[in-house]
Symmetry: none
Subunit: 495 residues, 2 copies
């Protein structure tokens, strides 16, 4: 039976993916510094084996002939995702994939070197090469899928996402935020004028911050028997669903940013830990896509972790571990701090979407060829001035050179961040409709009921539905901007 | 060219071996407890892929036809080891290897859980399963190699080891030790009667012991840019030559046993870190075998670490890290302490060989089927009483459940420990012949010259020579027991 062959293949691929996931997490946490070269060789070789096995020509035949087999609902859904993955992996000729991989790696390496030097001119040719290959890639993906080129790029990250649906929502959000950012800043100014910001700085040993982080992770639902916490240069959530590796980095003078980062990664981890175990060796068993994944991390960071109700419960936990006795009035101004800034990863939840929309708009023009790479800095600066009132003239490092996505060729990925934020707000409203007392639960450190809802509606569904279908089923409506804008108004606007 | 195909194959196999080595070390150190089942599945699957690739029928053809190609000395040596490995691996079908890997990993995981509970009955079925598979394996290996089943098992660990050669040597050693253990104990008693043992107990935080251990590791030659130190239930040396993973376990009330264990694993690590890098993707580039490996670990632990000259240098290092000021008269009675005990890994170098000979005798009977797993506790107790005068009745945790080897399916491995001790003593005598001032070097913390000799004679040779050839070339003679018994007499006997 062809489906049986796909099922067996799934186990082989899962083993290689398991190895790559653990080796990748290990590289960033426990590997000896001199082990990098051999590790890179080993991972490249394993990735090659994985690709060769996952793209073997006979798999296409199995997929076609399995369609005529008597399959139950789960198997039919699994077959659909096997097909999607196979098409995704085989729509680019391997000659092209290799050429593109080389270009991306060169561009990423150059970016690492030149960002610190603010050297746009030196970086330009390599980014031009990447963009030229991305245009080729988008054309090939469009040809294969029948989608528009940019949609075909997004399809890799979030099946079902279409610019025609997203652009109106982003336009509405942009228009809202242009007016709302000044309002939120004014509200903040007025509050600070009455009661100045009290610094949370102190001396917080790494071990105590770690214990605090573990306590919070466990409380919000992280299963410490199926995951762990380590330290790495850049925080990430990796590993495998049965052994999720979360990392963070600590500063001993400050605890809040590490803790918020940890809650964010814990959100990713909860999704992974609660994926349907019986489908673990099928593509169907994976998280749906990047936007949904981001909705899960942002849900824990923003809907839970920056919720005043959360801090009713969390302040005594912080006090227990760090020995500091803060009031709600001390902590909330930090948790809800809003600031216009140049750097996306440092942005708060109010200004963050403007960073994403800027990139979303520019990368569509880059893919279509309406914008050339040489003209990015001017276009970037114009939008930063318009959206956030900030200039990036001659400041490439904090402008178009701040992200790894474009040098890495990941066009179509950026919208996921803000789609995730909007989805998280919409999920919150749906949850609150079913559980009106969720804020009270949170203020008592009770996360079971809300996690049960998320497990049922999101986590347990794996890749069963397209991204828009998943949202429709979980929340009863398609993606709508007002859940997010209402959330921002409630938290940051005039009462 | 067929040799080129073998060379390319070597790179693929190295990548899979790298993954298995790191996943194995990770499992014992950083893996979440609930990750075991999926890890076992993934490793079984990867081991199956490795086995399938390493045993492909065309490899046999390449090996045959490469023999007619113009190869340099290194390539000829490499081809010989490719051939040996291929024959060794093709004894067992992939299906069997996967089944055995799963059984071993389950048994090891169960062992980790049940040893602490002294639960032999709960552990028994999984060990019976492992032993049953070992008997199958031994029969298949015997069939292929024409060796006796137990010899065929030992052949994997030490090419050329034969029970017919080892048994008389061990019988002689056993007879020597039965007389010498009482002598060494009497000498110790007389010394203690004059000057009572001063306890080294205190309170030594894990972090300080770890720093002390790292300082000693680095001093004796461990390259901290190509390896690291972690904590695990059972100390081991794993990983890959560019990223060697050493582990130990600590007790805060006592430091010496962890430190000695660490020096032992450091000896293994030095061998791995100094293997010829240019042969890393060939079987030729590996350590020669387990007995030679053990000779390297025991050399560091016994010839160096329990040498009085070592403590002239080491006492101030210990003082620096633990804050304790001890004299040679304080420390040496502990370093040279002899005691009849139940635990092999805690045994001193005088009684240790008796623990090994007990296992060597029992595992031959287990493999042959003359002994059943259910009868191990009784047989174990009988030999412990005869060799060391100790009972293990109803004490499974300190009896047959103390080692990971049998749950791990590593039958034929135990004799390597005592063969290694004998080789280490012989290497020391050869080294001292070339470097008469080696004790003085050690007392000044200078390990370079002695490591240069070991690198040249042992480490850099990889698997170029058979074990007897390697010993002959390094020491000028074949393995002779008197180096070891002389060593024991000098260190523990009547002056």
């Amino acid at each position: 039976m062809s489906f049986t062959k796909l099922d067996e293949l799934g186990h082989k691929l899962e083993a290689l993916e398991h190895a790559l996931a653990i080796l990748g997490a290990d590289e960033a946490t426990h590997m000896a510094v001199g082990g990098g070269e051999k590790r890179a060789d080993a991972m490249a070789s394993l990735a090659g084996m994985l690709h060769a096995r996952a793209t073997a020509p006979e798999i296409g035949d199995w997929i076609v002939s399995a369609e005529d087999e008597a399959l139950n609902d789960d198997q039919q859904a699994a077959l659909r995702e096997f097909g999607r993955h196979y098409e995704n992996l085989t729509c680019l000729p391997s000659e092209f994939v290799e050429r593109q991989m080389t270009a991306r790696m060169r561009s990423e390496q150059l970016w690492r070197d030149l960002r610190g030097k603010n050297d746009w001119a030196g970086f330009l040719p390599s980014l031009e090469n990447v963009v030229s290959l991305v245009r080729e890639e988008a054309a090939m993906r469009a040809d294969r899928t029948g989608l528009d080129p940019y949609d075909a790029m997004m399809e890799q990250y979030d099946p079902g996402n279409r610019a025609a649906d997203i652009t109106p929502v982003f336009t509405e959000l942009k228009s809202f935020l242009k007016a709302f950012v000044p309002e939120a800043l004014a509200v903040q100014e007025e509050r600070l004028a009455k009661s100045p910001l009290k610094p949370l700085s102190g001396s917080y040993p790494v071990e105590r911050q770690r214990e605090l982080g573990l306590a919070m992770m466990a409380a919000v639902g992280f299963d410490l028997t199926h995951g762990s916490l380590a330290v790495s240069h850049h925080p990430f959530c990796g590993g495998v669903p049965t052994d999720v590796r979360i990392t963070t980095r600590y500063r001993t003078s400050e605890f809040l940013s590490a803790l918020m980062g940890l809650l964010h990664e814990t959100g990713h981890a909860l999704y992974e830990q609660n994926l349907p175990a019986q489908w673990a060796h099928w593509p169907l068993g994976r998280a749906r896509g990047m936007a949904v994944h981001e909705s899960q991390s942002l849900f824990v960071e923003k809907q839970l972790g920056r919720n005043p109700a959360f801090w009713v419960w969390a302040l005594p936990v912080v006090e227990k571990h760090l020995g500091e006795e803060w009031s709600m009035d001390d902590i909330l101004p930090h948790v809800h701090h809003v600031e216009r800034g140049l750097i996306r990863v440092d942005a708060d939840e109010v200004t963050y979407p403007l960073h994403v929309i800027l990139r979303y708009e520019l990368e569509q023009e880059l893919v279509s060829g309406r914008l050339e790479v040489a003209d990015i800095p001017e276009a970037w600066n114009a939008k930063m001035r318009e959206y956030l009132g900030l200039s990036t003239i001659d400041n490439f490092a904090d402008g178009p050179m701040q992200d790894v996505h474009w040098p890495g060729g990941a066009f179509g990925y950026f919208p996921s961040y803000t789609l995730g934020a909007m989805m998280a707000a919409q999920q919150w409203d749906a949850l609150k409709h079913v559980h009106p007392s969720v804020d009270e639960d949170i203020s008592r450190g009770r996360f079971d009921a809300l996690n049960d809802w998320r497990r049922k509606e999101i986590w347990s569904q794996g890749s069963r539905w397209s991204t828009p279908e998943l949202m429709q089923r979980a929340t009863g409506e398609k993606l709508a901007a007002h859940h997010f804008t209402d959330h921002l108004r409630r938290r940051y606007g005039r009462a």
